[in-house]
C-alpha cells in the first residue's frame, strides 16, 4: 500500500498549481463568468474561525445575485443553509464579510454530518467573491478603514473522535446482543421460511467484500466451505480480574470468571480464498467439539457479514500459519475472470497474502450450515503425525496435529491468573518405541490464547488422558498450543493419518532416564544413592485420608480441626506427608550434583530422619547416607553444566 504521504504530496502539488492557474485566470477576467454547473453560489451570513479554518454560515442562492435587485438579495427564509469552510489562505484572499456573495467553483467537497441537517462544504480553494456593482464603492471605503474582527472558537481538547460505527452504541459489542439467544446458525431444513432464500447465492468472498459499499450486505449470500471451527478469546470487553494473593484453587487451569470466547470459522470459497468469520460469544468453549463435528467440511451460506478487518501475513502470523497448512487446495479452484472449463493447477498457486475477518451484525440469521449435505471435496481434514515425525519437521510456525497421552501437567502462572501457561508432558507410541535419540516424552505448552473448555481442563487434571491436539504450532523445537489450536478428548470424525501409528500405548509408560542431555522443564526418571540431605527443607503437611487433598483448611466452626473442601468433610485422621531435599549420586549423570525434593516414595529411614529434623531432635544423617533411592519420576526445575547440577522434584504421573 505504502506511500500515502507521497501520494498526498503529489495530489497537493497538482492542486496548488491548479489553484494558482485558476486565480490568474480570475483576475485577468474581472467579469462574473456565466453560471456553469457545479458552481455553488452562497451568501455569507456569519463567519467565525476555528484553528485557522474559516467557518462561514451561508445561505445557498439559486442564481447569481447580479441578476437580482438589491432588495431581493436579502435573506429569505427557506433557502438552504450551508456551512462553508475556507482554508486560511483562501480566506485571506477573499476577505469575506457577512452579506458577501461567494462563487465556489468545483472541485469542492460536501460532507454530511450525522445528527445535523446542515451540510459542510470543504476543499473550497476555487472561490471568488462576487462584487455587487452598486455597493462596491462604499464597500471599498469601509473595507480599508475597519479591519474585520472574526470570532475565534477555541476547540476543547476533551472531545476525542470516535471512528466506530454509530449504528450500535459506543462500547457495546454486537456480540453482547447475541449471548442470550442460541447460536445464530440454522440447519437447512428451515430454509423454506428463510428470508434470504430468494436472494442470489454467490461463490466468491472477494466479490461479496467488494460489493459491500454498493448494495449493502443483506442481499448477498456467499457459499463457502468450513475448513476449521475454533474459539478465539474475545479481546474487547475482556474483563480481567486480578486475583491478588488468592492461592490457586484445585483446578487451577480454569479461570473462575466465564472466559469471553467467540466461536469462529475459517472458511474457503470456490476461488480458494480464505476468510475468518467471527460468530457470537460463548460463555465457554465446551461445545467446540460438537460444533467441529457437525460443521467442519460442510458447506455454508454467509450473509449479512460486516468486515472487521483486512489482515495480512505480516500482521496475523497465527492465522496465516493455519491457512498455510491448508494450502494448496486439494481440488482445483476457480480463477476469477476465466472460463471455468480450464483446470487450474493449484500446486503452483502462491499462498494467500491477505485475509478478510468478518463478523456478524446484530440480530439476524447469518450463517446457514448445510449439515445434511456431504463433506465438500475442498475440505482438508487435519493430518495426524506421530510425535517422532513432528519433532523432525524442519521449519518454523508450522501447524500440525497429533494424538497423544498426557502424562503430567504443570501450571506456570505468570503475572496474573489470566496469563496462565500450562505445560503438558505427552507421549505416543512413536516416542515410546523409538530409539535413543528421540526423547520419550515431549513438553507441550498451552498458552493463554488457546481456549480450553471446562470439560477438557477437568479431564486433564484428573487422570492420564489421550488427547487430540489439532493445529498446534511447531517451531524452534517447541510445540505450542496457541489461538486456533483445539484440544479434543476424542479423535475427530475425519482426519488423515500420514502413516502414523495411532495405536494405543501398550504397557507402562517409560520416561527418559536422567543423563547429561536432560534439560530444564522436562520430566525424567532417576535412581541413585543418598549422599547428603538439605536439612532446612524438611517440611510436613497433613492430607485428607480419603481423597489425598494436600490443601486442608482450618474448620470454621472449630479451629482445632481440619477440613477438606473437596470431600466437604472434617478430616478426622489426616495422613501426614513429608518432604525433604536430598542430594543423590546418580550413575546416569555421574559428574552432577543432583538435588531432588522427595515426598512421595520415601524410604523408612528417610521418613524417620525427616521426623527428627522437624521435631528438632538430634538426628543421625548417617542412617540415610548410602541408601538407594529410585526409580523416581521427577520434574526437572533446572539443569546447568557450569556448575554441573540438576534440581528436580519428585512427581506423580497422572
Amino acid at each position: 500500500r505504502g506511500g500515502l504521504a507521497e501520494r498526498l504530496c503529489r495530489l497537493q502539488n497538482r492542486e496548488r498549481s491548479a489553484i494558482s492557474f485558476w486565480r490568474h485566470q480570475c483576475t485577468a477576467d474581472a467579469k462574473i463568468p456565466a453560471d456553469k454547473s457545479g458552481v455553488l453560489i452562497v451568501k455569507i451570513l456569519e463567519i467565525f474561525e476555528e484553528c485557522t479554518i474559516q467557518v462561514a454560515i451561508c445561505q445557498q442562492l439559486e442564481q447569481s445575485p447580479a441578476t437580482l435587485s438589491s432588495e431581493d438579495a436579502t435573506i429569505s427564509a427557506g433557502e438552504p443553509i450551508l456551512k462553508v469552510l475556507f482554508a486560511r489562505e483562501t480566506a485571506a484572499h477573499l476577505k469575506s464579510r457577512p452579506q458577501d456573495v461567494i462563487h465556489i467553483y468545483p472541485p469542492w467537497q460536501k460532507l454530511l454530518l450525522k445528527n445535523t441537517d446542515v451540510p459542510v462544504i470543504m476543499n473550497t480553494y476555487f472561490s471568488q467573491k462576487v462584487l455587487l456593482s452598486e455597493h462596491s464603492e462604499p464597500r471599498e471605503n469601509t473595507h480599508g478603514l475597519t479591519k474585520m474582527l472574526v470570532r475565534k472558537n477555541i476547540i476543547s481538547l476533551a472531545q476525542t473522535f470516535s471512528l466506530d460505527d454509530h449504528d450500535q452504541e459506543l462500547h457495546q459489542q454486537p456480540s453482547d446482543n447475541q449471548v442470550a439467544c442460541g447460536p445464530q446458525i440454522r440447519n437447512n431444513c428451515d430454509s423454506n421460511q428463510h428470508p434470504l432464500a430468494r436472494s442470489v447465492v454467490n461463490d466468491s468472498l472477494l466479490e461479496m467484500v467488494e460489493s459491500q459499499g454498493a448494495m449493502g450486505w443483506r442481499e448477498v449470500q456467499v457459499r463457502v466451505v468450513i475448513q476449521r471451527v475454533y474459539c478465539l478469546p474475545a479481546r474487547e470487553g475482556y474483563r480481567s480480574h486480578i486475583q491478588g494473593n488468592k492461592p490457586l484453587c484445585a483446578t487451577p487451569i480454569v479461570n473462575s470468571d466465564p472466559p469471553n470466547v467467540r466461536l469462529c470459522l475459517l472458511v474457503q470459497d470456490a476461488y480458494g480464498m480464505f476468510s475468518e468469520v467471527q460468530l457470537q460469544s460463548l460463555s465457554s468453549a465446551d461445545d467446540i467439539e460438537q460444533y467441529g463435528r457437525r460443521w467442519e467440511g460442510k458447506f455454508c451460506c454467509l450473509a449479512g457479514m460486516k468486515i472487521q478487518q483486512r489482515t495480512t501475513r505480516g500482521r496475523a502470523s497465527g492465522l496465516f500459519s493455519l491457512i498455510d497448512s491448508l494450502w494448496p487446495p486439494v481440488v482445483p479452484v476457480k480463477v476469477p475472470g476465466q472460463s471455468q472449463d480450464s483446470e487450474m493447477m493449484t500446486a503452483h498457486l502462491p499462498p494467500p497474502s491477505f485475509c478478510y475477518i468478518l463478523t456478524v451484525q446484530a440480530g439476524e440469521i447469518h450463517v446457514e450450515v448445510d449439515e445434511e449435505e456431504q463433506i465438500s471435496n475442498l475440505y482438508q481434514p487435519p493430518t495426524v503425525h506421530g510425535l517422532k515425525d513432528i519433532l523432525q519437521i524442519n521449519g518454523c510456525n508450522q501447524r500440525c496435529s497429533f494424538w497423544a497421552q498426557v502424562l503430567y501437567l504443570r501450571l506456570q502462572a505468570k503475572q496474573s491468573v489470566n496469563q496462565r501457561e500450562v505445560w503438558l508432558f505427552v507421549t505416543d507410541s512413536t516416542l515410546q518405541d523409538g530409539v535413543h535419540i528421540t526423547p520419550k516424552v515431549v513438553a507441550v505448552s498451552v498458552a493463554a490464547s488457546c481456549v480450553l473448555g471446562t470439560e477438557i481442563t477437568a479431564a486433564l487434571a484428573a487422570a492420564s488422558r489421550l488427547v487430540f491436539f489439532k493445529d498446534v504450532l511447531w517451531g524452534n523445537g517447541r510445540i505450542i498450543c496457541v489461538e486456533r489450536t483445539v484440544l479434543l478428548l476424542q479423535k475427530p470424525l475425519l482426519y488423515s493419518a500420514a502413516g502414523a501409528d495411532l495405536s494405543e500405548l501398550t504397557g507402562p509408560v517409560r520416561l527418559d532416564e536422567l543423563d547429561s542431555t536432560t534439560q530444564a522443564n522436562s520430566i525424567c526418571a532417576l535412581r541413585g544413592t543418598v549422599v547428603g540431605v538439605n536439612e532446612s527443607t524438611a517440611f510436613s503437611w497433613p492430607t485428607c485420608d480419603k481423597c489425598g487433598n494436600g490443601k486442608l483448611e482450618l474448620c470454621p466452626q472449630d479451629r482445632g480441626l481440619l477440613y477438606c473442601n473437596q470431600c466437604c468433610e472434617v478430616v478426622v485422621s489426616p495422613v501426614l506427608k513429608m518432604q525433604l531435599e536430598v542430594f543423590l549420586s546418580c550413575p546416569s549423570r555421574p559428574q552432577s550434583t543432583v538435588r531432588v525434593k522427595v515426598w512421595h516414595k520415601m524410604s523408612s529411614g528417610l521418613f524417620v530422619l525427616i521426623n527428627m529434623l522437624l521435631s528438632l531432635q538430634s538426628y543421625e544423617v548417617q542412617s540415610v547416607l548410602g541408601k538407594e533411592v529410585g526409580l523416581l519420576n521427577c520434574y526437572v526445575h533446572s539443569a546447568t553444566s557450569h556448575p554441573n547440577c540438576v534440581a528436580l522434584e519428585e512427581i506423580v504421573l497422572l
Binding site: L4, L8, P107, L111, L157, A158, Y238, S240
Partner: protein, 140 residues
C-alpha cells in the same frame, strides 16, 4: 455557537476508515480532505502511518495510551481519553495558539486506527503508569 471543525474532522476520519475497510485504499478526495482540514500536519501524519510508527499500549486493567515514534527518533505519548501529545508542536500550535486541531502524532494515531495500522503492545500497570507520568527530559 458549537464548534464545527471537530465533527467535520471526525466524519472525515470515519469516511477514511470505511473506504479503507471496503477497498483497502484511501481515495484521493479523502486524502485532499485531510490536507484541507489538518493543513501542514496531514502529510507528516500519513508518513508516520506509512512507517507504522504508532503503537497502542494497553495494560491488563484496560487502560490505553499511544506511543508514536517521531521522525527524529523520539517517542511521543498521546492520550486516548483526550487530545494530548507530549510533542512540542502540540504545546505550541494546539495549546498555545489554537492554530491546529491536532498535532501530526495525534492525527497519525487516528489514521492508524482507521487503517488498522496500529502496532499493539501490552504492558503491566506499572509500566503504563510510568509512560503516562513520564517527565519531559529535553528542554524546548
Amino acid at each position: 455557537m458549537d464548534s464545527t471543525l471537530p465533527a467535520v474532522a471526525e466524519e472525515l476520519l470515519k469516511e477514511i476508515k470505511k473506504a479503507f475497510q471496503e477497498t483497502s485504499q484511501v481515495p484521493d478526495d479523502l486524502l485532499l480532505g485531510l490536507k484541507f482540514i489538518f493543513g501542514p500536519s496531514a502529510v507528516p501524519a500519513l508518513d508516520l502511518v506509512d512507517q507504522r510508527s504508532v503503537t497502542r499500549v494497553k495494560s491488563p486493567s484496560g487502560r490505553t495510551a499511544y506511543q508514536v515514534l517521531g521522525s527524529s527518533g523520539k517517542l511521543y505519548t498521546c492520550y486516548s481519553s483526550c487530545h494530548f501529545c507530549t510533542c512540542p508542536a502540540f504545546g505550541f500550535a494546539v495549546l498555545q495558539k489554537s492554530e491546529s486541531l491536532l498535532c501530526k502524532h495525534i492525527l497519525a494515531v487516528y489514521l492508524s486506527q482507521a487503517m488498522g495500522a496500529c502496532q499493539e503492545l501490552t504492558v503491566s500497570e506499572e509500566q503504563l503508569t510510568s509512560i503516562l507520568l513520564a517527565e519531559e527530559e529535553e528542554e524546548g
